[in-house]
């Protein structure tokens, strides 16, 4: 399937600190790979909708990250910024297969993330 070509292996879950993030250098620019306290993985563009802050450097709490530059909070599940701001960060599908983390380089369309 065409879609299969979009999946890339980026490492193992041990490489990402819990409540932390690592950076992936991707063709479209830096992507932040997050691991939450309950071991869920999320991948979002590493660019805050406010002024481009690198989200991978923020503090991860619950399923959110706080931008290191001016403290905007981004919901990792939706890529949306917390009210009252309204901005959105593109996000990507991540899966774990056979102990490896696979990232789908095709950005999710907005509707997919309810």
């Amino acid at each position: 399937m065409k879609e299969d070509q979009d999946w890339v292996d980026v490492g193992t879950i041990e490489d990402v600190p819990p409540r932390g993030a690592r950076l992936i250098k991707a063709p479209q620019g830096p992507v932040a790979l997050f691991r939450t306290a309950d071991d869920v993985l999320f991948a979002l563009d590493d660019r805050c909708p406010h002024r481009g802050g690198p989200l991978s450097q923020g503090i991860v709490h619950g399923h959110c990250v706080t931008c290191p530059l001016h403290n905007l909070v981004i919901n990792l599940e939706t890529g949306n910024t917390q009210q009252p701001e309204d901005g959105r960060v593109s996000s990507y599908k991540v899966e774990q297969r056979d102990g490896r983390i696979l990232l789908n380089l095709r950005a999710l369309p907005h509707e997919d993330i309810a």
Binding site: V8, R22, L23, Q28, G58, H61, G62
Partner: protein, 825 residues
């Protein structure tokens, strides 16, 4: 002749025996009438002024100092022309001569006498009760004796599980002693609480690490060399003890009155005008017995004080007795009890429990009125219930939802401000000082009060035991709306209702040692906190448990996690330490070399006497640091809530005005203190003379050298606020200066709220309090110094060289580079 012209009546002689809280309040009310018609003389067995006895427990736990709890200082007595004999016990009252006799051959004649001698602690009639190391809990001397004993650590046994015993136990435990409470009754505080609440209380006390033995009768205190060594119980158990505190009850001081022929029962019998059987003699406070009741709490005594002041100024006021309410002043334990809640035929009860949250509420009803209330775990509605009891309000209409408190009872939304809004104007907010809702609201409006401190100053509400602070805040909110910002007790963040102080105290009291522990024990409402509380908790744990706590990098802001300051474009800046602003050719070469090697775009001299390399790529950081480490340059912590710079001037090295070696001292301090984490950043400076070229007087800590030594300043700022420093004190030598500065910073490390700069901490805690702790109290200073030195063992290592050698490598490298793949879409 003169007498004919100046026809003023001679002032009457008022003599007061005892200088406690009740007469203090009475005199305040009396002096509202001017000119005063009395010449006042006070005899006090304690060698001091009037202080807030209620707050002794906070002096014991270290949250306040004696200076903080003084109610009337010497100046107050002088201002009102009062003769105060300190440390002079009255030994006899001669009613015929209308004169009192005191120790030391002093005597005073009276027209009117007020006996306000309070109570004495009861001593158990067991062998060994007079041994060394056996103390009561009544006055400042007792607290000082307990503190001296606690210094040595060891075991303490507190006999008596009532209010005083529990506060003593909690205080001693927080001072590091291993504490056991021995209590005769079946549950703790059984006179104020029912079984269920007593049980919950016991669980909370035990959870702090205090052992509790109920139904335990003390049989003897065992000795070794004249000092207590153990408490022996009736069942034969021996509890080892280096200190025993007896808190088994109080007895009104009535002997003197009895000897003078006044009617005495348990206390000195008074009528509704508070007069004894001699119309010239009144009794007031704990020593008085009114309608067969002796009170042991301050609120009723203050009511008496008001009535008596009225009577002494010619009014016909009468005292009708009081309903009392009890709260325990142990941080983290919320309990309330009021009225009468014993079971009986005519009574019904309503109970609400939430086992998971240790919440318990019980109301006792009689004839459609609330007559008693016990609350544990959540006492936010206590004022409302207390009002219902005092007023005997008919509650039939709201009975269904009564137990849920005023919000439900009136169908209003559940919000604490609404609950306070629902209180009637006469509702008593501050029990200790008898201040009602209306007088607080009126004061807020009349004096433009904007915070709790203002309310304390103008109305005294919340100024005693402090348990009504929450209500006072709600009133401020009600009156001021959104403009009110209760900074002092605001919750740390949206994840908890607790404020910074509570969290810090509970971390120590409950020995919480990891972030998840804190969140579990203190019932965080989020699964893993937020970007506000996590860094704060990480710091509090680090400061509380040096050497034990493992730092959590994921709870640090990126600058501290990466040990460099993030810039607006995601690059970083690197600021090496330049001790006291001094550098040399070798360091400058190394800096110049890394700038060239890594194409660092900007090199700037900072406002802190050092050099900033701006625009370094994150991946390059470890390599940049490796090159800098090679010549001994270490992290300047320009990114940290930590010691930043110690600016200096050239001092005696070069300057024609220099009085001391300011550069050397600055370097010495910076080398001693670098690496330590603090609540917010700490900046220092040392100037060689009062010309102050290092700008020491706007720093967190500043030292101005003078001929006779060193003037130590602190609590300055020159950022968002500009504030000149306060003078902490004077030191004679460099060594003494260093010790004081270190102790000061350690105190700040232990008390500061996260992100609270030193000047804000000083404003909150009080410059005098800090000066007392750091400067006047040499033992305390030595302890603080030692604790700082101990914690430095674990923090004084260069994070840069560690990372240059490979620590935390993942922080600086991408996990994967797939940028060579074709971009999707």
């Amino acid at each position: 002749m003169a007498d004919d012209i100046i026809n003023l009546p001679k002032r009457k002689k008022l003599v007061v025996i005892g200088n406690g809280m009740a007469p203090g309040r009475m005199l305040e009310a009396l002096f509202k009438q001017t000119p005063s018609i009395y010449d006042v003389t006070i005899f006090n067995a304690e060698p001091r002024v009037n202080y807030d006895r209620i707050l002794l427990s906070l002096v014991l736990s270290g949250e306040k100092s004696y200076a903080d709890i003084v109610i009337h200082d010497d100046a107050w007595y002088a201002e009102h022309d009062i003769t105060l004999y300190k440390g002079r016990k009255v030994t006899a009252i001669d009613r015929n001569a209308k004169r009192v006799m005191a120790e030391g051959g002093i005597s005073a004649a009276y027209d009117t006498l007020v006996i306000a001698m309070g109570s004495s602690p009861v001593t158990l009639p067991v062998p060994g009760a007079n041994l060394g190391g056996v103390l009561a809990y009544r006055d400042l001397d007792d607290v000082n004796n307990m503190l001296a004993a606690a210094e040595k650590g060891g075991r303490a046994v507190v006999i008596g599980g009532g209010l005083l015993g529990l506060e003593a136990a909690a205080g001693l435990q927080s001072r590091g002693m291993q504490v056991t409470i021995v209590h005769l009754g079946p549950t703790l505080m059984e006179r104020q609480l029912d079984m269920a609440a007593g049980h919950l209380l016991r669980k909370s006390i035990e959870a702090r690490g205090i052992a509790v033995r109920t139904e335990a009768q003390t049989q003897a205190l065992l000795e070794s060399n004249g000092h207590v060594r153990a408490v022996q119980l009736a069942d034969g158990t021996e509890l080892p003890a280096d200190l025993v505190v007896m808190a088994v009850g109080i007895r009104p001081n009535a002997k003197l009155a009895e000897a003078a022929g006044l009617e005495v029962n348990r206390g000195i019998v008074v009528n509704d005008r508070l007069s004894t059987t001699d119309p010239n003699i009144f009794a007031l406070g704990e020593c008085a017995e009114h309608r067969k009741t002796c009170y042991g709490l301050v609120a009723p005594l203050y009511e008496m004080a008001k009535v008596l002041a009225g009577n002494l100024t010619g009014k016909e006021d009468t005292y009708q007795g009081s309903v009392t309410a009890t709260k325990l002043k142990v941080t983290g334990i919320d309990l309330f009890s009021a009225g009468d809640f014993t079971d009986s035929e005519e009574r019904e009860e309503i109970v609400l429990r939430d086992g998971a949250r240790s919440l318990y509420r019980r109301l006792v009803l009689e004839d459609g009125r609330v007559v008693g209330a016990v609350m544990y775990g959540d006492t936010s509605d206590s004022a409302w219930f207390f009002e219902l009891i005092k007023n005997g309000t008919d509650i039939d209409d709201i009975r269904e939802t009564l137990i849920f408190g005023p919000n439900y009872a009136r169908g209003a939304p559940q919000d604490p401000t609404a609950a306070v809004a629902a209180l009637p104007d006469e509702a008593e907010i501050c029990g200790c000082n008898g201040v009602c809702k209306r007088s607080i609201l009126e004061s807020i409006a009349a004096h433009g009060i904007a915070d709790v401190d203002g309310v304390r100053k103008h109305t005294k509400a919340s100024a005693s035991c402090g348990s009504c602070t929450g209500l006072v805040e709600q009133l401020l909110k009600l009156e001021l709306g959104e403009t009110f910002n209760p900074a002092a007790v605001a919750p740390m963040c949206g994840c908890t209702a607790l404020g910074h102080d509570d969290v810090r105290r509970l971390i120590l009291a409950r020995e919480l040692k990891t972030i998840p522990d804190v969140m579990q024990a203190l019932e965080w409402t989020t699964s893993c906190g937020c970007a506000k509380c996590r860094p704060a908790l990480n710091y509090y744990l680090l400061a509380a448990w040096p050497g034990e706590y493992t730092d959590d990098p994921q709870s640090r802001f990126i600058n501290e996690r990466a040990h460099a300051n993030i810039q607006k474009n995601g690059t970083y800046s690197v600021v090496p330490r330049m001790w006291g602003g001094i550098t040399n050719a070798k360091e400058l070469h190394a800096i110049a070399d890394v700038v060239e090697k890594f194409n660092i775009p900007t090199v700037k001299v900072t406002g802190g006497q050092r050099i900033d390399l701006l625009g370094v790529k994150k991946e390059d950081l470890p390599a940049v640091w490796a090159d800098l480490s090679a010549v001994g340059l270490v992290s300047g912590h320009a990114y940290g809530k930590a010691l930043r710079t110690v600016k200096t001037c050239v001092g005696t090295d070069w300057c024609r005005f220099g009085t001391q070696d300011s550069t050397g001292l600055g370097i010495r301090i910076e080398r001693f203190m670098w690496g330590s984490w603090t609540p917010a950043k700490v900046k220092m400076a040392v100037s060689g003379c009062p010309r102050n070229c290092a700008e020491a007087t706007c720093k967190d800590v500043g030292i101005v050298c003078i001929d006779s030594g060193y003037e130590i300043h602190f609590a300055g700022a020159a950022g968002m606020d500009i504030k000149g420093t306060e003078v902490l004190g004077h030191a004679k030598s460099e060594q003494e200066t260093l010790e004081i500065v270190v102790a000061l910073v350690q105190l700040y490390r232990e008390q500061g709220h996260y992100l609270e700069r030193m000047y804000k901490w000083a404003r909150r805690v009080g410059v005098d309090t800090i000066r007392n702790l750091v400067l006047e109290d040499e033992n305390r200073r030595a302890d603080l110094f030692e604790r700082f030195v101990y914690s430095q063992k674990f923090s004084q290592h260069d994070p840069w060289s560690e990372r240059a050698k490979g620590a935390e490598a993942h922080e600086f490298r991408p996990i994967a580079d797939v940028s060579n793949l074709q971009a999707a879409e």
